[in-house]
């Protein structure tokens, strides 16, 4: 019953999408300057149908309708309702439906907001966005149908993987999707701008808000994913340069570059070609990332049930998308002619873009290199953190310095004569850095330089903000938040990197071990039964002999029944200064437990700074000049 209704809604959506494509094309050929009313109605029906199908799937998960394969495989009656809902996008089929939903919602809103713009531009955007939607709808129905039935109807579901039952992870996919699926709209708009010969300024101002929105959500999605990894995976880290993390970072670099260069196009009508390229590759890199994750050619924590046919479909779709966007782009024969003054906002923004492209190239090569060697030489290699850290870290330094100076520089041309305060801030940063490493612990030259430049960025932004706020103009607040946030983020990541400590030991109940100035005592072990799992709770006492504090930590080993899984829950004690992080795991056939105890300074500050960075762009979308 539910399955039939779902399928009807999906087929209905395909039919409507086809109609939109057809009527948009017809409407383009007509000389009429107005957009046909029928397209507005059709768009409205489309969004109604697609949202209804998504709500229906949520309904099926909430009421545990196991006649649907997707529900049977990913849900269970004993699960809390929150995780039943999260289960909707915790699997390939449901997440793809969410994907299509976001494409449709963005398409609808973009159409609504830009209804009054040049007719051919709006229509081409609608047309191309709907071709993309059609592609994903066909994919959804042909081999990833969330409304697929099973008979006989099972009485109980298989359950959601316990490590996915976490609040951060429940909201991670929707946030990330709003980011990189949202980028589809400016892909379409870029194509449309070329096809309709639109003016660069209009194009820029119509996509600007969408770039900011998708950038914010992409950032939030990445942050929340990191938080999940930190709290749930129990490795004590928050970024692993895992291929799938990289897959979300690559579009983020494009979006960051675009969010800046779109301003140049809007204000100065320069860099049109470049903005078009960025708009196009943002979505292309998003789909490439999706391909790498869903096809299973990369091994990582994001495992979906792998089906080569799915990978094949996305790959064909991706190839077609690249092929046609190249053709359309190369058709545009207009060359941008521009002259940029060396000291002008334009130049600094272009600088930002060069940095972004450098990071993008590094991460992209690092991510796909193992695939290439696997296919071409049949050798397995893995590209790990040392590669990324050593290539990216040094380039962060000039980037942070430019990030500090850039926002203050005026458009077109400026005579820069603020050297006094520049030198003063630089000296101040060096002094603070000096204080940090003399009072805490010294670190290498590279860390010194990064810390100095991030301090430089933070202080410089603060100074600019204070001077600015005297004029009561808060237009620069968003960029201030994002830039300062990024500076704080880099500062604390480097401090965290240098001051983290890690102890690995095997220990029995009742035993105490002393390393450095820290005594770790395994007090006792409790076994409890909880709602849908059994749990072994360890009670550890951490005693710092030097600073004379004492903390109790209770890591858990959870034994889930459906599906049968062991998960290791880390015990974390957080304060403003540091996190104490402890995980334990049992060792087969012995009384010993393997314990990993970590001291991770400033974790709270890292999260705070990351959210601060993301908040800037969100604020900009609400703030009018």
């Amino acid at each position: 019953m539910l399955s039939n209704l779902g399928n009807i809604l999906l087929f209905g959506s395909i039919f409507i999408t086809l109609s939109i494509i057809y009527f948009a094309y017809q409407n383009l050929k007509e000389k009429n300057i107005l957009i046909g009313k029928n397209l507005v109605y059709l768009s409205f029906f489309q969004i109604t149908f697609i949202i209804a199908s998504f709500l229906l799937l949520i309904f099926a998960f909430v009421f545990s309708d196991f006649s649907l394969l997707a529900v049977y495989q990913n849900s269970h009656t004993a699960k809390p309702i929150f995780y039943k809902i999260a289960g909707v996008w915790g699997n390939h089929e449901g997440s793809l439906l969410l994907w299509v939903n976001i494409m449709v919602i963005f398409s609808f809103l973009f159409f609504l907001f830009n209804y009054k713009l040049k007719k051919s531009y709006s229509l081409y955007t609608l047309l191309i966005q709907n071709i993309l939607i059609l592609g994903f709808l066909v994919f959804l129905i042909s081999n990833s149908n969330p409304f697929f039935k099973i008979l006989p109807i099972p009485s109980e579901g298989l359950g959601l993987n316990p490590i996915l039952q976490d609040p951060a992870l429940a909201i991670h996919p929707p946030l990330l999707y709003l980011g990189f699926v949202g980028s589809s709209i400016y892909f379409s708009a870029a194509m449309a701008a070329i096809l309709s010969n639109s003016n660069g300024k209009n194009f820029a101002s119509s996509i600007k808000i969408w770039v900011l929105i998708s950038w914010s959500f992409q950032s939030l999605g990445i942050i929340v994913g990191s938080i999940w990894a930190y709290y749930e995976l129990g490795w004590g880290g928050f970024w692993f340069w895992d291929p799938v993390e990289n897959a979300s970072l690559i579009p983020w670099f494009c979006m960051t570059a675009l969010a800046h260069s779109v301003l140049v196009l809007e204000k100065r009508n320069y860099l049109y070609n470049w903005v078009l390229i960025l708009s196009i590759i943002t979505f292309i890199s998003s789909v490439t990332g999706t391909f790498l994750v869903r096809s299973g050619i990369l091994n990582s924590v994001h495992t979906f049930a792998n089906d080569p046919a799915r990978g094949m479909y996305i790959l064909i779709f991706l190839s077609l998308m690249i092929f046609f966007s190249f053709i359309i782009f190369f058709k545009r024969k207009i060359n941008d002619n521009f002259y940029l003054e060396p000291i002008s906002k334009e130049t600094f923004i272009l600088g930002n873009n060069w940095f972004m492209m450098f990071y993008l190239a590094t991460v992209f090569i690092g991510t796909i290199y193992p695939i290439f060697t696997q296919v071409l030489y049949d050798t397995k290699i893995s590209v790990g953190p040392p590669f990324y850290n050593s290539v990216i870290a040094p380039i962060i330094i000039p980037f942070l310095i430019m990030m500090a100076i850039g926002p203050k520089i005026r458009w077109i041309k400026q005579k820069y004569n603020d050297y006094k305060s520049l030198i003063f801030i630089l000296i101040l940063s060096c002094v603070i850095n000096f204080l940090i490493f003399t009072f805490l612990k010294s670190y290498n030259l590279l860390s010194n330089l990064i810390i100095i430049s991030s301090l430089f960025l933070i202080i410089h932004s603060l100074k600019d903000f204070i001077i600015n706020s005297k004029t009561k103009s808060y237009y620069n607040l968003p960029s201030f938040l994002s830039h300062t946030g990024f500076g704080i983020l880099m500062l604390f990541i480097i401090l965290n990197h240098n001051y983290s400590r890690e102890y690995d030991l095997n220990i029995k109940v009742g035993e105490a071990k002393k390393i450095d100035n820290i005594e770790i005592k395994f007090e006792n072990l409790k076994i409890e039964k909880r709602d849908n799992y059994n749990v072994i709770i360890g009670n550890f006492n951490i005693l710092d002999l030097k600073k004379n504090y004492q903390k109790n930590l209770n890591p858990e080993i959870r034994i889930y029944d459906n599906p049968q899984t062991l998960t290791f829950e880390s015990a974390i004690k957080t304060n403003l200064k540091q996190d104490l992080y402890l995980t334990m795991s049992n060792i087969d056939g012995s009384d010993f437990y393997n314990v990993k105890f970590q001291i991770k300074p400033f974790m709270l500050w890292i999260w705070f700074a990351a959210f601060l960075t993301a908040s800037g762009a969100l604020l900009r979308t609400f703030l009018k000049k």
Binding site: F291, S295, G296, I297, N299, P308, G311, M312, L315, L318, S319, I322, F326, F330, K331, K333, I368, I371, F372, Q374, V375, L376, K380, S382, D504, N506, I587, D588, G589, S590, F592
Partner: protein, 174 residues
């Protein structure tokens, strides 16, 4: 449409990447350690535990079996299987190669001093990258290689008495 150098380069790069993705789709990436059984050993170069010399595939002898044992001093199950390895040491037809996995040299040597050294060759895989070749994902693991340098058996987890007998049987066949 004007064909420029830049266009050709960018198009061919993208086409090449897509082709590789296509090929990657069709290669079996499932991580199965059983797959290496029956295959001949790939070329490898692993340094010795106590000096900087390198042990290569060519250094495997042609008239003896080899048992590759991957171990570490921090690994408790490795202690458990140690007596089995010591017993296997007496076997004339078999050479035992120990690969010390993600370990400190000092701890590794202390371990061998305390419990005895069953290894004819002690090698070291400090960062765990060399043993990937043998499909190692947890330790201890042991891999039995015949005289023709073919992998004939793989033991995941600590060796026990049954494994001991299996190894003796395989080594002394014919």
């Amino acid at each position: 449409m004007k064909i420029s150098f830049l266009k050709i380069i960018s198009i061919s790069l993208v086409a090449f990447a897509l082709l590789v993705f296509f090929l990657a789709l069709n290669t079996d990436k499932r991580y199965s350690t059983e797959k290496i059984v029956g295959k001949s050993v790939d070329n490898f170069e692993i340094i010795f535990l106590n000096n900087d010399e390198v042990f290569k595939k060519q250094d495997l002898s042609n008239d003896k079996f080899h048992l590759l044992n991957i171990w570490a001093s921090w690994c408790l199950p490795c202690k458990k299987e140690h007596s089995i390895l010591m017993a296997l040491k007496k076997e004339n037809n078999l050479k035992i190669i120990g690969i010390n996995f993600k370990d400190k040299k000092l701890n590794a040597n202390n371990f061998l001093r305390e419990l005895g050294n069953p290894y004819d060759f002690s090698l070291s895989d400090k960062d765990g990258t060399k043993t990937i070749l043998f499909g190692v994902y947890g330790i201890p693991e042991s891999i039995l290689i015949d005289k023709k340098h073919k992998i004939i058996s793989k033991f995941i987890g600590p060796l026990d008495v049954n494994d001991y007998e299996d190894i003796l049987q395989l080594v002394n066949e014919k």
